[in-house]
């Protein structure tokens, strides 16, 4: 089928046709005859979301730097485009060369969010590729996945041939090179996997098979290939400062979610919040030097023409030379007439000085994240901030003229009671009173949003054993909060829908048996489940029912420490002993210090040196 002429017709019918055209500035074209490996980077959501993802730009850059490898991009078509494509049987294609994805060597998906899993199935299906590795056999491209959700790969173990665990940027190049050698050898796929499985960070699900106890828990993960490793260590880039960074990032034609240049300042986080998966799996903290960051920022702006630049990390202010860096960048941005955006700042006096300067009279909203409404519960989750911290930052914000505040909390945290929720309402009330105190009763426009998300226990965190609240419990808590907040004037309350929260928990901690309802849900028509207007809980319930899988077994069941967890063979570098110790400390409501104040024994330093260990002693 001629993709070009058919596509040309569809593009005149669909919304935002530029999502599908490629050819942006800094995108890459290669002579297809001259490359050995054709790689498709697949993002399981629309173009606008995928193009805002830095990981795409990193892998695209590092792969296309190799003459023998051509990395192209694949996105999920929006619903209107999908309908048109299916009507004329136009297969899913790459943006760069409009090649059907079936004709590539490797298709690699990034797993950022559990609710994008049906989009993965849909994209394979649109590409004419069978969904499971068993059905694909020796034909079709090798289907790979990476990203944070790959740390519990089991719900997708029958879909993917290979998982890349941990920092993927160097490993993916090795994988492509090994693939090229294998292709030239004419051997079967199993031979490729046998060679790859010895690489740190590579997990071949086909070499393992779980067996279950009668109560549904895992009895054993049997190995089907005895040379395969018992445990799969995540890949770690030990020197982030010298790691590749895309100076020539693709500049989209259309507005994307984050339409700006981005520099990653560091990986990992030392704070140790017990609910946070990113804080565990990206350990240890590895920084780029201030000089490297400044050079990258300058080059990226020169090469893109962007109007805005932003810094990326898990906690902007934790960068060891943050004040110096922010000062230099502010100066540079002013000279280049570019705006600077600093997400997830800790709101101390220096941050306010910076925000005051970069936002001036155009003040955006400010977000505070106390996470929990009482000191007790903040101690449980190891969020080391006090009520005084919160009020003094808010006081500063009000005095400097911010009038749009958002306070972010989680509901459903371990040990939570209604009294903890009352604390949220109490904080909201105190913030409103603070505003009256500072600006008087006629204080003008002031808006506080209380934003509540529902806690999803994640693999590789101290709360991985925790039974999630049921849908009913969540609803009760939401209603309780709504009721409490009703009497506080000037507060708006938003919360996350409960049904997706439960599904997230199922896939975040599921085993290989949840693949069935996933495939069934896709067959019933579920896709873009992360988009609330498109989410259909009825279809999901039906999918679990017809496949005979009990979602509660995965979401609300409390696990014991001796249970074999589906992701136990994936080694994040953080030991299970540490996670147990942290969970026990949570129950005892005691804090664990930031590891900049001294090693907390999480175990990752047995793999790689922790630069920040004890740096603030």
């Amino acid at each position: 089928m001629n993709i070009d002429s058919n596509l040309n017709k569809l593009l005149k019918i669909v919304e935002k046709p530029a999502r599908y055209i490629g050819g942006e500035f800094n995108s890459v074209k290669k002579n297809l005859e001259k490359v050995k490996t054709r790689f498709g980077f697949a993002f399981p959501d629309t173009y606008e979301i995928g193009m805002s993802f830095l990981g795409l730009q990193i892998l695209y850059g590092i792969l296309n730097r190799e003459d023998d490898i051509f990395c192209e991009r694949i996105f999920a078509p929006a619903l209107d485009m999908e309908a048109e494509m299916r009507a004329i049987e136009l297969p899913l294609f790459t943006l760069e060369s409009k090649t059907p994805i079936k004709d590539l060597d490797i298709v690699g998906f990034t797993l950022q969010y559990e609710m994008s899993y049906t989009n993965i199935l849909n994209m394979l299906d649109l590409g004419g590729i069978p969904l499971t590795r068993q059905e694909r056999g020796e034909d079709y491209p090798v289907i790979v996945a990476g990203g944070p959700c790959a740390f519990n790969p089991e719900p997708l173990a029958d879909i993917f041939d290979i998982f890349v665990i941990g920092d993927g940027e160097e490993l993916i190049v090795t994988l492509c090179k090994k693939h090229a050698e294998w292709k030239a050898s004419g051997k079967n796929k199993e031979e490729l996997y046998k060679e790859l499985c010895h690489l740190e960070g590579i997990y071949i699900p086909g070499f393992y098979e779980p067996e279950y106890n009668s109560d549904g828990t895992i009895r054993e993960l049997k190995k089907l290939y005895k040379e395969a490793p018992d445990s799969i260590k995540k890949a770690i880039i030990s020197n982030v400062d010298e790691a590749f960074f895309p100076e020539n990032a693709i500049v989209p034609f259309i507005e994307v979610i984050h339409d700006r240049s981005v520099v990653e300042t560091f990986r990992g986080c030392t704070r140790g919040c017990r609910f946070c998966q990113a804080g565990m799996i990206y350990r240890p903290v590895r920084e780029r030097s201030k000089e490297t960051i400044e050079t990258l920022a300058k080059k990226m702006l020169e090469n893109s023409g962007h109007e805005e630049i932003s810094l990326l990390s898990l906690s902007t202010s934790d960068y060891s030379q943050f004040e110096e860096l922010a000062t230099t960048l502010m100066k540079m941005c002013k000279e280049h007439n570019v705006s600077l955006s600093l997400p997830s700042l800790r709101l101390d006096s220096f941050s306010f000085k910076v925000l005051q300067e970069i936002q001036g009279y155009k003040k955006s909203g400010l977000t505070f994240a106390p996470e929990a409404g009482s000191q007790r519960l903040r101690n449980v989750v190891n969020k080391n901030i006090t009520e005084e911290n919160i009020y003094s930052s808010i006081e500063q914000a009000l005095e400097l003229g911010w009038s749009n505040l958002k306070l972010y909390f989680m509901v459903g945290l371990p040990t939570e009671t209604m009294a903890d929720l009352d604390g949220i309402a109490e904080i909201a009330k105190n913030v409103i009173d603070l505003n009256y105190k500072i600006k008087g009763r006629q204080g003008g426009r002031f808006n506080v949003t209380i934003s509540v998300s529902s806690f999803v226990p994640k693999a590789h965190t101290p709360f991985q054993w925790h039974g999630q609240d049921t849908a009913n419990e969540f609803r009760k808590k939401h209603m309780h909060l709504k009721d409490k907040l009703k009497s506080v004037r000037g507060v708006s309350f938003t919360y996350h829908r409960t049904d997706t929260t439960i599904l997230e928990a199922v896939f975040a901690r599921g085993d290989r048996r949840v693949t069935k309802p996933l495939i069934e849900a896709f067959k019933l028509g579920c896709s873009f489940d992360g988009w609330s207007e498109n989410f259909n809980n009825g279809l999901w319930l039906k999918a679990f029912e017809t496949t005979g899988i009990d979602a509660n077994f995965y979401s609300s069941r409390e696990r014991t420490y001796d249970e074999i967890l589906p992701w136990d063979h994936i080694d994040s570098g953080v030991t299970k002993e540490f996670l147990i110790k942290e969970n026990e400390k949570a129950k005892a409501e005691t804090l664990t210090d930031d590891c900049r104040l001294g090693c907390v024994d999480c175990g990752v330093n047995s793999r790689v040196k922790c630069e920040m260990e004890g740096s603030h002693v």
């Binding site: 034609f253 702006l301 962007h306 109007e307």
Partner: protein, 223 residues
């Protein structure tokens, strides 16, 4: 303050980016080239840059005209090559020149635009269809949406300055010079509808290809 124009073509998939996307693209390309644009004064400053006439999404063009004002004088040595290095695939700069700083904007003096339209059809159509018959109608009626989104009839005859129509057996090839600009403006879409109705052509809009070939101005500016 210095004022320049560039003439460029827009071919291939890039025809699917909108006018606003194209403006952002130029703004970023100027930044990459290190050219500082003049900005308007006020609360929300805008770069002084504009097309003679926006090009509809989906149209190709061999002669778009962009004017812009810069803070510093541009070094004209190899300027076209420099421009093209800062442009994505599908946009090609053909001409560059400095124009007088004072005077009306190009948008204000745009008079006509010429289009070439390829209209593949189904079924049979007489080989010798002639534009003359079509143009000899007392009134040429087409439909457009008014501001209330209602379809209204409109006589477009006076807005068609030149027209040729040919049938090559598979496609009807139309060449048309139409009013363009702020005083009188005719979209090729209305002409296509009127021609389709008149000759009873069976076609699918998503197969029609439209290329703008040139824009002409009241003050005899030639590009």
């Amino acid at each position: 303050m210095y004022r320049y124009i560039v003439k460029f073509s827009k071919f291939g998939y890039i025809k699917y980016i909108s006018h606003l996307d194209l403006m952002r693209l130029f703004k970023r390309s100027f930044k990459r080239m290190g050219i500082k644009l003049e900005y308007s004064q006020g609360f929300n400053p805008h770069p002084k840059m504009g097309l003679a006439q926006p090009l509809s999404l989906g149209y190709e063009s061999s002669g778009e005209i962009l004017e812009f004002e810069t803070v510093d004088k541009i070094n004209e040595e190899n300027i076209i090559e420099t421009f093209n290095l800062a442009m994505p695939e599908g946009i090609k700069i053909i001409e560059f020149k400095e124009i007088k700083a004072e005077g009306k904007s190009l948008a204000a003096i745009t008079e006509f635009a010429e289009y070439r339209i390829k209209l593949p059809y189904r079924g049979s159509l007489p080989q010798d269809i002639k534009a003359l018959d079509f143009m000899n109608q007392a009134e040429i009626i087409s439909q457009k949406l008014n501001k209330k989104k209602e379809l209204i009839d409109l006589n477009i005859k006076s807005m068609i300055k030149e027209l040729t129509v040919n049938n090559n057996g598979e496609e009807v090839i139309i060449f048309a010079k139409l009013d363009a600009g702020s005083l009188s403006n005719l979209s090729p879409e209305l002409l296509i509808k009127a021609i389709g109705n008149y000759y009873k052509i069976e076609y699918d809009r998503s197969e029609v290809e439209i290329t703008r070939e040139s824009i002409t101005f009241t003050k005899n500016l030639q590009f």
